[in-house]
Symmetry: C2
Subunit: 569 residues, 2 copies
């Protein structure tokens, strides 16, 4: 945003902005991106006189001058701004162009519009190349004001709205900012598995992944088409085998020729094969295979029970304990029947893991990463952020600026509880009781970050009783080296910890929390062999988008939300 | 690689390389990355005299000088090269440092080693900060030459080997190259869902995702602990209700006091509530819920049958038809019982989708993307590529150079079949018959790209009978606008097509291939309302890594391979 250059005369301004006066060509299309016109700092004015092909969807259209021409506001999703397009009646049936949602491709010449209009440039059409029509009477998302809730029932079309498109661009920017941040700091991106046979937390409702049901349904159909042999069938086959055995015996006794005996043995073998096939088929039973009254998972695809991951942390630790700095960025799953505006069954998590690093390093990394994302949005997505500020949350840009510039407060859990108790004494009412040992509730976290400090707060050193077994036990033997990053608007954004690297201690902790050792033997191996101090954290990616945009419901910041009862498309 | 500067004297050389003579500090750790020392173009020589803290795992170690000091080759995964470390016996028990896999953190001073040694720099240790020991007798992956197959049984430790670490760095580089390429070209990264209720191809073996089994197991346990009411229990509860009804009646008849009647009605209500609870519980049956003999999926988590995605294409098209240029990069799944070296049950796909673009644009994008990745590896991963060339595939670097620089051959399917028929006439033997209409087999693809052209080949315009319904029907009504990119070493790397944007045509095609319309109504809406010419493709990410590295088995190029019978960790 070259605001400081506004005093310069237009041509110098252009030069100062280092703008060329030709439109950037789209590499894989014969049209240009609308952003490469109206997204320029000069609003496109410097491109007047250029001939271009543009394509997009009509946001609003209207016939003017008694039907002699039409104005179309065209948007192709490359930026929030539209390109104003003017089509004369001689070029197309104007009524077919003006409906919201119509797709048009046009060739034309860019012109500076008459003074006093908002646009810096407009496209005078010379040829209408193609039209994808819309029947406005049937179009599910016509122009009228639509609620986000209504749009959730039209997932396949909602990206055509200004809001969902802006969120898509912000989400994209945050994703690339994430990769850029970790790559700049020499972290390797590691793809941890979605299908897992480990349960990270030893708790957590997990989705099961199986082929047993479909296999059993396939079998059921097959058995109806082709019923299994009856006892009579099998008895008959057994009879044939006995007869063939007898026949061979008799031929041998009669010293028959070798070829006769060979032929007879062959017949016997055929009969035996037939019998064993029938016996095999007679064992087939419809329904899910069972053994000793329990489902027989040895017959499932992975020969054991498999689930969708709830976190890639344990697996990515195997890479941290080998190549030092790693991160995951992928989908994770919870089969919880939560119907809140903050929970999804499928959501994306970013989980870095750092070897040779402790809790301080962990907090430093978390703070630097969040600041980096805020700066990225301010640098590269300001137009979309302005839209969000105008439409949803007028403080969202200031919030980004604040978080990007102010050092995060860091307080221990014990200090946090003291502050909350002080607040209670001062008359503050919480639904959940405050005392040392509790897990901080969302209302407590929001109070600390939104009321008490009014900036991001990192709370560290939590009671071991409320945290996972893999967090490093502090010397006080009561707390673990865990940390949560709390931010205004969403509360907990990040949860992390230094990991317990001492074999004896972590083994003890696993037993203490009542988990079996066997499934964690591989995890224990990381401590048995060449153990290393390490730490990491997880950031809920959708929470970051809620924080950035001020959108209230998490179902609106992921393209295809999954929650109890809903998995459209 | 500043090879051209080798004639310069060392200090000028350093200046020419724009190297500083201080080690780059690690942002989130108190040690420096080994790459920031030995990964410099000068091999670290310019850093002599610097004090640093280094950490890593011992690749090889040996005591020297009758136990007076030890040499350690230290690696932290930041680059393939090791840092040579020298520890005097006074600083630590040397025998505890030298075992392969030991983790050590040391402070020391960087020195130029004596002339004639391979290293450009070594670290003389002043203090051993910490040691994570290894018992070499128990360590599952000691130094001896280990096969990739053996390592697959030790997924949690294999990233500590040179090969798997190099593959991790190459995989990371290709992933970031992918994001960089599409971001540079204004594509938005869209997270398509993993959990889906749509089947992209109308075929494909899919994994089912369910909570029905775990819910029914939970219920089963609960019913054992707390058995459902018997008929007698329910009859008794009914009896109580009747008695209470009678009691109320009598009190009313006797004109009892209001408070007496109220109390009696309250008792009646309690009895009714108890009865209905018992009746509810009596309906609970162990096992998966059924209705009309079929599994009742309305009781599953999403109130319908859900699967793991086989492709994000159909869903990402909803974004392409709204914001123009998009791509997905995420895990996809096939529940196929394939035990080959080319198939995984879970693998990563990159799927761009471009609006206002046709098959030519699609091919241009695919070729540019593959070339970009090749150049990226040559630019940023040459040390790892040299390791792969030395250890696995001596031609791999030349292959990258060739693909990065040579225009891909483009031939129609019909031409491809003619070339194959010509080869057959020339004496070439294929296992699969060659004639117009067949799906090209791997042997055919390999012949075209490895023998006939010896460079990448794009085959386009395939017979409609062997391709998916969503591919655009060509004017010949026999072929569709599909394209496959074939490369030496792996054969098919990319499959793509222009999508059918004409409502009537695609509707017809869905019916023609025998699919029901109803599940595709949302997909048809994209053609009903504001339809747009568009195209896209899918690249199997692991195949790209096989192509780049020359590794033979796909299970070795993904961190946690999943295949029939195996899902470790």
């Amino acid at each position: 945003m070259a605001e400081t250059d506004q005093a310069l005369p237009p041509s110098d301004q252009l030069a100062a902005m280092n703008l060329t006066d030709t439109v950037e060509k789209h590499a894989f299309s014969d049209r240009v991106l609308i952003r490469s016109i109206v997204g320029r700092p000069d609003g496109g004015a410097g491109l007047a006189g250029q001939r271009v092909r543009a394509g997009g969807w009509v946001k609003t259209g209207r016939e003017q001058g008694k039907g002699t021409f039409a104005f179309l506001e065209l948007n192709d999703g490359s930026c929030p701004a539209n390109l104003q397009v003017i089509v004369d009646a001689g070029l197309a049936v104007l009524s077919k162009l003006v409906a919201t949602g119509t797709c048009v491709v046009v060739d034309g010449i860019l012109k500076v519009p008459p003074e006093g209009t908002r646009q810096k440039i407009e496209l005078r059409v010379e040829k209408v190349v193609s039209v994808g029509e819309v029947d406005p009477a049937k179009y599910p998302i016509p122009k009228t004001k639509l609620t986000l809730e209504f749009l959730r029932d039209h997932l396949h079309l909602r990206a055509r709205t200004n809001t969902i498109a802006a969120i898509a661009r912000i989400r994209n920017a945050l994703a690339f900012a994430t990769h850029s941040f970790f790559q700049e700091h020499n972290f390797l991106y590691v793809h941890t598995p979605i299908l897992t046979t480990s349960d990270c937390e030893g708790a957590g409702e997990m989705f099961q992944v199986t082929t047993l049901i479909s296999e059993s349904e396939k079998l059921e159909k097959e058995l109806i088409k082709n019923p299994p042999p009856s006892e009579v069938d099998i008895e008959a086959a057994r009879q044939v085998v006995s007869e063939r055995v007898e026949a061979v015996k008799q031929l041998k006794a009669a010293k028959a020729s070798k070829s006769e005996i060979t032929a007879s043995v062959a017949e016997l073998n055929k009969a035996k094969e037939n019998l064993s096939k029938l016996e095999e088929r007679s064992k087939l039973k419809p329904g899910i295979p069972k053994k000793d009254g329990k489902i027989d998972y040895t017959q499932d695809f992975f020969a054991r029970q498999a689930f969708l991951t709830v976190s890639g942390q344990l697996q990515v630790e195997t890479y941290a304990c080998a190549v030092s700095n790693v991160y995951t960025f992928g989908p994770t799953f919870r089969a919880e029947h939560s119907h809140t505006s903050r929970h999804l069954a499928e959501f994306w998590m970013v989980e870095p893991e750092i070897a040779f690093a402790d809790l301080q390093d962990d907090m430093n990394c978390a703070e630097a990463y969040v600041k980096y994302m805020c700066n990225w949005l301010l640098d590269k997505c300001l137009d979309d952020m302005l839209f969000m500020a105008k439409s949803y949350d007028k403080g969202c840009i200031d919030r980004l600026r604040m978080v990007a510039s102010i050092p995060f407060v860091r307080i221990s859990y014990t200090e946090a509880v003291e502050l909350l108790e002080e607040a209670v004494r001062g008359g503050k009412k919480f639904e959940n009781e405050v005392k040392w040992g509790i897990d901080l509730a969302s209302e407590h976290e929001r109070y600390l970050t939104e009321v008490k400090f009014q900036k991001p707060v990192i709370v560290y050193n939590y009671p071991k009783g409320i945290k996972a077994f893999y967090m490093r036990l502090n010397d006080d033997l009561k707390t673990v080296a865990a940390m949560d990053v709390l931010v205004p608007k969403v509360g907990e954004l990040i949860g992390g910890s230094q990991r317990e690297e001492r074999y004896e201690v972590i083994r003890e902790r696993i037993l203490e929390v009542g988990l079996p050792l066997e499934p964690y033997e591989w995890y224990l191996d990381l401590r048995r062999y060449g153990t290393v101090k390490h730490c990491g954290f997880g950031l809920g990616f959708e929470r970051m988008i809620l924080f950035a945009t001020g959108i209230e419901n998490i179902r609106d910041v992921i393209p295809f939300p999954r929650y109890p009862g809903r998995a459209d498309l």
